[in-house]
Symmetry: none
Subunit: 205 residues, 4 copies
């Protein structure tokens, strides 16, 4: 009896499992997802799954890590290396990146965090350290660069980079809850960005 021609290499297993887990969590949420289901989706036995992830919770954390880290890395790298002015970067790459978030896997992660956060403080901490905190820092840095360039005047926004991410989070949450209801999230994000840029470029208020 010949071996199957393509035998899955064991190095890929964890990835395949977290991918399957993400899909399941996205559909049903953490609590409602059964480990059997994840194993089946991953084409793996339950026993093997437990070989890679000690508990369902570990699996959950691995999913969050693997989904979110790459994106943030990409964004910060792009800010650090860009040659665009601050305004150009905001209107260009940043806006592009940010408009993709509502409806993306990231929004699922946010749902999971909100739902399960109270029971997984270390996960929330991880998310804060690696995503939110870094994201805010990166934006602050970008705005400071704008001030340094003379593009922007210093304003309240420099101390509240949250104003920049705000429409994204809002859009994500809105979409999560009211998929049915239409909200032009692109326009919302753009409008807020316009408001902020106008304010930052405007005469002293």
């Amino acid at each position: 009896m010949p071996k199957p021609r393509f035998q899955r290499r064991k190095e890929d297993r964890p990835q395949e499992i977290t991918a399957a887990a993400f899909a399941a969590f996205a559909e049903k949420g953490y609590a409602a997802t059964r480990v059997d289901e994840v194993a089946k989706r991953a084409g793996v036995s339950k026993g093997l799954l437990y070989l890679y992830f000690k508990t369902k919770e570990e699996l959950f954390k691995a999913v969050v890590r693997s989904l979110v880290m790459p994106r943030v890395d990409a964004l910060t790298a792009s800010i650090d290396t860009t040659e665009l002015s601050a305004e150009e970067f905001l209107r260009g790459p940043f806006l592009d990146f940010v408009k993709k978030l509502p409806g993306s896997p990231v929004s699922v992660v946010i749902r999971l965090l909100i739902a399960e956060g109270p029971k997984h403080p270390d996960l929330v901490q991880f998310y804060w350290d690696n995503v939110v905190s870094r994201g805010l820092a990166t934006i602050t840095e970008l705005l400071e660069r704008g001030v340094a360039n003379g593009e922007f005047r210093r304003s309240a926004v420099n101390d509240m980079p949250h104003l920049v991410i705000m429409p994204v989070v809002f859009s994500v949450v809105f979409k999560l809850l009211f998929e049915e209801q239409t909200l032009d999230t692109d326009k919302l994000i753009e409008t807020q960005l316009e408001l902020l840029i106008a304010h930052m470029k405007g005469a002293a208020s």
Copy 2:
């Protein structure tokens, strides 16, 4: 004389139970809250709880209803009857109201909705109809009044009342997730409101 084992207080029971349920849901989330726990907190037997609420789900819905409706009612009533100008209302009663939301029971409801929403579409619908939709309509109305008064010029904000609630939702979510991390939600909300008012009062952009 110890409290009697049987106490007939038909009128108050539902309230007492939903109050207890809210407390429990707030602490542990819906799924992790045991019906026994709610009954115990309410000082009531499990059987009685089921006399008033057919299922745990029904109880959940009742909690949401009883917590949220009154607040929205109060706000819309206040807008309809106020004699303040639009700007005065926004800076006064509206701001006061809205600053109280992050950290209030409402934010718990939002967490519950985000977490359990996918499994309770009718609850989400109820929330949309009675809270979000009405809230947005009320704000739109207020802004229109401002335009009619000549206080504001017509702008993108008239079509995107979401910009006004946005910082509230953001603050709620932020507080839900990162209680530890400090965010001056009051300031965030105020700043966004200033931005918007300035924009609406400003020269044509």
Copy 3:
């Protein structure tokens, strides 16, 4: 506020309750019938029901007693007072009586006894003493009268009066189980009776 014109006399209550209970038991069986349901059908509060019947089991027994006794009484009385010959009685009143049993309330009682009997030995005993035993004795007596009259010869049937009731019990059980399937129970009962009479009248076997 005037009293209702027809106030139910308390003497009738137990009857009304057992009637309601019978209806409920007949539909759903003993275990599946809730006491609330019986109380509601009887137009009485649950508390009052428990005033008359200490437990659900007591109620069950009362139902069986009240339904079955009158019928047996009627049959034995009729045998004792008849002026018909044994054969005439069998072909006449007995056959009429017996053909009515399948599908009648009695068959419900039998179902209840079979289903719940193991848990209510005293009830079964009661039924044996008052119904089956008396019924068999009555039939034996009738057959003996026939032998004494010279209508019948003595045969195995005299020692096995069960042969006479047999088709009735069979029909009852058959109808209970296979309502759907057609069985001409009247014909079955008649045929068996013919067989027996022929045998009892026949030449010595």
Copy 4:
């Protein structure tokens, strides 16, 4: 060395469980039997039981199937292959088979069917199709063979094979209810068979 906590015996489990379930049902009836009890009797965890049988109801059906089918199969096979005359077969193998039924597991199944039938119509249907209907057909066939052989004349019995099973059903029910009371079921069954054979062999009635 004590028995290991985990034992893998996939093949035998269903059998062991249905056997345990039968014993429990026989003692207490369906409703009064707890699933825990069945699991304990089978020396198996509750969880495993649910691995093989989706619900308690499924388990019940499996019990009925596994107990009853083999017996009917044996009887019909034996009729189809016998070289005995119809009368010989009735007096021999048939009588032997049938006398064993009262008090056998089959009678328990009948109790369960009568008690739970109304709530499990499909089970009753199954029983009708596979047991009663087939049984009656087999007997009809046997009697027809007798007529064809010239052993029997055609009579009402040909259209009412129920007359042949009747004493068995009666005996089963009688034993179920009145174990205490003595009834010589063997004699009852034999007597009825004699009656029928005499009638079928007798001169035209």
